[in-house]
């Protein structure tokens, strides 16, 4: 649990004063005052009383904008001149009754005044331009303020008083979870993104489920095993009913699997249905699932196939029906989704009676909602938000950042060069500074302890720029070479900042690095260009999340010809073939360990960090974040 702290009203007022102060200072310093003074003098020089009146108004406008004392003084002078002019005009009006000449003179004065006014309005336009400049300066002040705020956040004042009571009573019968984006649909078989899973994971269940250590265990199936290499038998749990009262049985289980593998079924869970041919009931509480060959990952696939009632159609996208501990209540588009406890749940009853998901797209607003007690859990907060959250917890996610090489590019073809580039990067530094400690160097593989195929003997490459330089010389590149580092913006947290450090550290070993930032969709297109073709990215920043906890998930990045791969190592591809088709899990694990050992000698990427997921929570909410990125409310409680 991280430190709890909130800012108080006076603190904010001070901030406002700071921003206004900076604003005023920046306005005063950009020469407006001088300009105003010169303008005011010019107006006086004309010596026309009426013109002076106009100048007074003009100068005042500039003075007010620039807040400069000098301009104000000039304005005072001009104003007195204006009074004089008014008096003259009044005199003229008063005298007009008697003298025709004087009337003419007064009319002349009025015309002069009008001209002067037109002149003044032109200068007013100029003043407006100055105001625009002041606005730009204000933007700078704003940036400065943010820095100030950030440093305040990092080092809260010891005397900060307790935050005001928000007046919103904490309801312990209910948990409100902030999600950044609304699910496409509530049909669990169609979606798998995090925002969707927060809901579907509590309402739907699968035959298998991961325990707290991410090991597969019994869900709606109580027993399972191979009948032969391509047939798996699952024994279903008795006495389970769907929220609509229909029974969970062999018919609905087989239907669920056949539905999701259907040819025309659009689903984000596509990777979980490959190689499954079909399912059929084998008795009342057993089903057989057949695959189109030995399928090593069938069990983890099945764990990602939610069970739906027999015959369910598109309507469950609007009004979902599952077997989970919570059942659907309402979906207010763009706003919230709610669920309540399922009284007929087969397992232990959860302690929190209802669940509400609120859509809050902006991360800062979500944090504010957490601080005010409107929401109880915010997924994925940023490291700098941690001090502001009532409570924060984190978990080492199965997410690995890396920079993939295009090994087909000549200068990157030698393993020594790629090892040298791995040694050039200070991963600890990036973890500690850019990610503020919420990350750690990954052990040179897209796997971590607990995942199938993790190789504990591989260590992260040491940070050794001198050694890296020597390797480059040995490889025949004493002068280095030119290479482009490609980073997508707005996709991965702080990729740009991390990328800049990496670019610099590669330059430090003598490489000439082009740093290129990409819009995400363009980046995706460019990233798919095969390594042998024109336009392929030399160095591509990526972020691999291994939610399978299995070496098989990394296949597309490292095997010959795979969609994200720009390396072709026959041995690695062979080992992944074994891992992907053998149903003996120990044989599989060995194959992946071998493959990653080889990928240490022949790196496909600069291995960077394993990232943390950080969650902001209400101070009285108790929850241990899960490794598998699931959010089961049945595991949450209030103290």
């Amino acid at each position: 649990m991280k430190k709890t702290h909130k800012r108080a009203v006076p603190w904010l007022m001070a901030s406002i004063i700071v921003v206004f102060g900076l604003l005023a200072a920046s306005c005063a310093s950009d020469g407006d005052a001088d300009a105003a003074l010169i303008e005011a003098r010019g107006a006086q020089a004309s010596a026309e009383a009426a013109a002076a009146a106009a100048a007074a108004a003009d100068t005042r406008a500039v003075a007010a904008d620039s807040r400069a004392a000098a301009a104000e003084a000039a304005a005072e002078e001009a104003e007195s001149a204006a009074k004089l002019a008014q008096a003259t005009a009044q005199e003229a009006v008063a005298a007009a009754a008697g003298n025709v000449d004087e009337i003419a003179a007064a009319q002349q004065a009025v015309r002069d005044a009008e001209e002067a006014l037109a002149d003044a309005s032109r200068r007013a336009t100029a003043a407006e331009d100055q105001a625009a400049a002041a606005q730009a300066a204000a933007a700078e002040a704003q940036a400065a303020l943010e820095e100030v705020l950030a440093s305040q956040a990092a080092a809260p004042p010891p005397a900060a008083p307790e935050p005001a009571d928000t007046g919103m009573a904490m309801n312990t019968d209910e948990i409100v979870i902030a999600i950044t984006t609304e699910p496409n649909t509530l049909d669990a078989q169609k979606v798998v993104d995090r925002a969707s899973r927060v809901f579907t994971g509590n309402v739907f269940e699968s035959l298998l489920v991961r325990d707290k250590d991410a090991k597969l265990t019994a869900g709606l199936a109580t027993d399972w095993g191979n009948v032969d290499e391509t047939t798996w038998e699952f024994t279903l749990r008795d006495g389970v009913t769907f929220h609509d009262g229909s029974p969970f049985n062999a018919a609905s289980a087989a239907y669920s699997i056949n539905r999701i593998i259907g040819e025309d079924f659009e689903t984000q869970r596509g990777s979980y249905v490959n190689n499954i041919v079909g399912a059929e009931p084998a008795g009342d509480n057993k089903i057989n699932v057949t695959t189109d060959g030995p399928n090593a990952i069938l069990l983890l696939q099945v764990a990602q196939i939610p069970m739906v009632p027999d015959g369910a159609g598109d309507e469950i996208g609007e009004s979902p029906v599952g077997t989970g501990p919570y059942r659907f209540v309402a979906w207010e588009r763009g706003q919230s989704i709610s669920a309540e406890i399922n009284p007929d749940y087969w397992g232990d009853a959860p302690s929190i009676a209802s669940l509400v998901l609120r859509v809050i797209p902006d991360a800062q607003t979500a944090l504010a909602a957490l601080q005010s007690g409107e929401v109880n859990l915010v997924l994925d907060i940023l490291p700098e938000q941690v001090p502001l959250a009532p409570k924060a917890v984190s978990v080492a996610a199965t997410e690995y950042s890396y920079i993939a090489f295009n090994t087909y590019k000549e200068v990157l073809s030698l393993p020594e060069v790629r090892i040298a580039m791995n040694m050039a990067i200070d991963k600890e530094l990036i973890a500690e500074t850019i990610y503020e400690g919420y990350a750690r160097p990954n052990q040179a593989q897209h796997l971590s302890p607990g995942s199938l195929g993790f190789n504990p003997d591989i260590e992260a490459f040491p940070y050794d720029p001198e050694g890296a330089k020597e390797l480059l010389v040995a490889a025949g590149y004493p002068e280095g070479f030119t290479v482009t580092l490609n980073i997508p913006i707005g996709r991965y947290p702080r990729a740009e900042e991390a990328g800049r450090i990496i670019a610099q550290q590669l330059r430090d070993i003598g490489l000439d690095v082009d740093f290129r930032l990409w819009e995400w969709n363009e980046y995706r297109s460019a990233g798919r260009i095969p390594g042998t073709e024109e336009g392929a990215l030399d160095l591509k920043f990526g972020w691999n999340s291994n939610e399978w906890f299995d070496g098989a998930r990394t296949r597309s990045h490292v095997t010959c010809g795979a969609s994200s791969s720009k390396i072709c190592d026959e041995y690695v591809t062979e080992q992944f073939e074994i891992g992907g088709t053998n149903v003996d899990q120990e044989v599989r694990a060995e194959a992946y360990r071998n493959a990653w050992a080889r990928l240490h000698e022949n790196p496909h990427a600069i291995y960077l960090l394993q990232q943390d997921l950080i969650y902001g929570m209400s101070s009285n909410l108790e929850w241990e974040p899960r490794l598998d990125d699931e959010y089961y409310v049945s595991e949450m409680s209030y103290s």
Partner: protein, 328 residues
């Protein structure tokens, strides 16, 4: 007024004919311009959406194979030639078919229609606040230039329109929701939810209304007729509210209308995003992120319609006020 006649005689014949035309002709002309603008908007959106990024790629998983991407492209008809898609797209829009949202699995128009009233509600509340504070403040400040009120409010309004609106929104959330607990931070739950987003709009856009109304008032106050009226001994208040206000009315109405158009032009989008307001802005940004082309297109076209309609209303209002001034 002789000066007006002088001005008109300098205008080219075409403009002069326009200046004299009736309100019906003006309406028709504006409608024609509006429709042309709308057609351009529709075309630009389509081209942009199909040139920037590949929608099929966006919809497929990150490590999808090429076959998978192709299959998705086929499913959405993205494999057809550009001009064919463009033609059927235009035809569909004219029949009111804005396509099916990929993201929400329902007609794009339904998604937009659901968000539209929320944005109208917010923009109207916001612009009412902006007009009220801007006009009242601007007239008071402008009538006594250099006074403490003038200097104070001028400074405040410059500051307000110098900060980004989303940042001001966040500041209000932190002060009024987190610290004081007066209003909800975000969402649209009951009347209290609208206070902070509407206040943000009122402050930022009110700041601009204030600036322009103030300078219009200052200018008007220095005109000869005011001086004459004052020298005749009419009280300040009477001159201000009976003459000056009426003559600045044109400027004021135009500015308020303009600010409303600006809101629809995108200013309200960031505010909706920050306050998790389920309106067109949040919908548009989400649709853009997911490359949900049909929702994006429907939302932008509807927002475009609102900009055009608001402009039209401002024009007509301008004409009505102008006529009243002339006839009086």
């Amino acid at each position: 007024m002789s000066s007006t006649d002088n001005k008109e005689s300098v205008l080219p014949a075409r403009r002069r004919a326009r200046a004299g035309e009736g309100i019906g002709v003006l309406l028709l002309r504006r409608l024609r311009d509006g429709i042309i603008t709308l057609l351009l908007v529709v075309a630009v959106i389509f081209v942009l959406a199909h040139v920037v990024g590949d929608p099929a790629l966006v919809f497929s998983p990150v490590d999808a194979s090429d076959e998978e991407v192709e299959r998705i492209a086929r499913a959405f008809g993205l494999d057809r030639p550009f001009w064919e898609r463009f033609g059927s797209y235009f035809a569909d829009i004219f029949t009111g078919d804005f396509g099916e949202s990929w993201w929400q699995n329902r007609p794009a128009l339904a998604a937009v229609a659901e968000a539209l009233p929320n944005t109208i509600y917010l923009t109207l509340a916001g612009i009412a606040g902006a007009a009220l504070t801007g006009i009242v403040g601007g007239v008071f400040a402008g009538s006594r230039p250099g006074s403490l009120f003038d200097r104070g409010s001028n400074f405040f309004s410059i500051s307000a329109l110098s900060v980004p609106n989303f940042w001001l929104g966040l500041l209000f959330i932190v002060i009024f929701s987190v610290q004081l607990g007066w209003f909800p931070t975000s969402g649209m739950f009951g009347v209290s939810s609208i206070v902070l987003p509407a206040l943000t709009i009122a402050v930022v856009h009110g700041g601009r209304v204030f600036q322009l109304v103030r300078s219009a008032t200052v200018e008007e106050m220095s005109k000869p007729y005011v001086r004459v009226a004052r020298s005749k001994g009419f009280p300040h208040r009477m001159v201000l509210w009976r003459h000056v206000l009426r003559n600045t009315g044109l400027t004021t109405a135009t500015i308020a209308g303009w600010e409303y158009v600006r809101l629809w032009g995108g200013a309200v989008f960031a505010i909706e995003w920050v306050f998790a307001w389920p309106g067109i802005g949040t919908l548009t940004i989400n649709a853009a992120e997911r490359q949900d082309f049909f929702v994006l297109q429907a939302a932008v076209i509807i927002a475009g319609v609102f900009v055009i309609v608001s402009n039209l209303v401002v024009d007509l209002l301008y004409r009505v006020i102008d006529n009243r001034i002339k006839s009086s």
